[in-house]
């Protein structure tokens, strides 16, 4: 093999490796925020659904917890979201306590439900202090 052929082969190998490196840095989890939002919506639905019994509610919330943790971590570790100012991403990072429900709740040693109500500003006192009236 001549020197020029070797050189060409080396250049092709370097270019191939560089293209692989570029491909591997492209965002792999483009819908990570949307996935988290879907799971979070299901949990909130379980919290707020009026016709669910207490056991059923706890079981529904418990079933989502594991997935919620994973999805929250996927979003927090997703470098492709850095600086991506879409409405969904902006909203997701605007309030840690409301988006990363499981992590925020565990960090504060609270139940997921309590943490969400607190983050929304809904306390027993505030609910008791409300009055009915025309909007």
């Amino acid at each position: 093999m001549s020197f020029h052929t070797k050189l060409r082969h080396l250049a092709i190998a370097a270019a191939a490796a560089a293209s692989i490196a570029l491909v591997s840095t492209t965002p792999a989890n483009a819908g990570s925020v949307e996935n988290l939002e879907r799971e979070r919506a299901m949990v909130l639905q379980a919290i707020l659904m009026p016709d669910l019994g207490p056991d059923e509610r706890v079981s529904k919330i418990g079933a989502s917890q594991r997935r919620l943790i994973d999805l929250e971590r996927i979003v927090l570790r997703d470098d492709s979201l850095t600086g991506r100012a879409t409405p969904a991403v902006r909203k997701a990072f605007a309030n840690y306590d409301l988006t990363f429900l499981m992590h925020a709740a565990t960090e504060k040693k609270m139940l997921l439900v309590d943490n969400w109500f607190t983050a929304m500003g809904l306390t027993t006192q505030s609910i008791m202090a409300t009055r009915t009236g025309p909007r």
Partner: protein, 291 residues
Amino acid sequence: MNMHKLKLLAGSALVGVVLAATPVAAANPGTPTWQPKVSERLVKLPPAYMKKSLDRDFARSALGQAVQDIEREIALKTQTLADLQRATEQADGDVLIELKHQFLAEKRGYLDLMQQKQDMQRKQVATRHRVLEKLLAKLNRKSGGLNPARQKLVDQQSAARQRFNASASKVDMNLFAEQDLPESKYSREYGKNLQAIQSLVAAIKSHPMNSQGALDGDDISKPEYVRRMVADAEAELALIDQESQILGFMAKIVALDAMVLSEEIADSDYADSDVTEPNDITNVVNLFVNN
């Protein structure tokens, strides 16, 4: 005055006048050029490789070839000057004058070549400076250019990640140890992959091709490296200007030498001529008094 001496005299005077009048002449408009492009490939290259790529591109350009050619010519001219200087030390009479004249003419040729080289160097460094400025602007556009809304988002993301990293182990302990939740496949695989990624990142960090971004022992970012290259190019331009001043002084010395030589030739010619001394009237006083 014989014709040869007259020619030498005219030649020496002309060398002096030309050099004194235009110590640094304008660049020849027909000189070769170098037109590098700021491509995406150049932006993505590691910093040191970027510099090498520019150097290689210049060496392959018409301007690069011309600089190499003129370097060779200057080396030959320097050799000729040294030979003539040695010969001048051993010569005398008309041969000495002839050699001195040749020496001056060769000096002028050397200065012309040096001036052409400086023009080319100035062109090269100015082009490099321009390319690096564009490269820096491109890098800044890529890395920065955050508007306040995006900057706010980046800050929030950074704060969220910091908060998560600070509490992740506590959360794991609470969930897996106390609440006895089974570890998910994502969690298991993530831990395994993270170790592999960390070892690969360490290997990349210590890779010689990657560590070429270090300058003077500092590990610096790509924009910082390019900024330093821009500063180096500016310093090079300043040095070329200074060298051009040196060239101007050298030209002045050659001009003065040429004037001295022409004076010497004129003096010796005058001494050899039949021109008589003006008669003093007091010398003939005796002719009148003793009669």
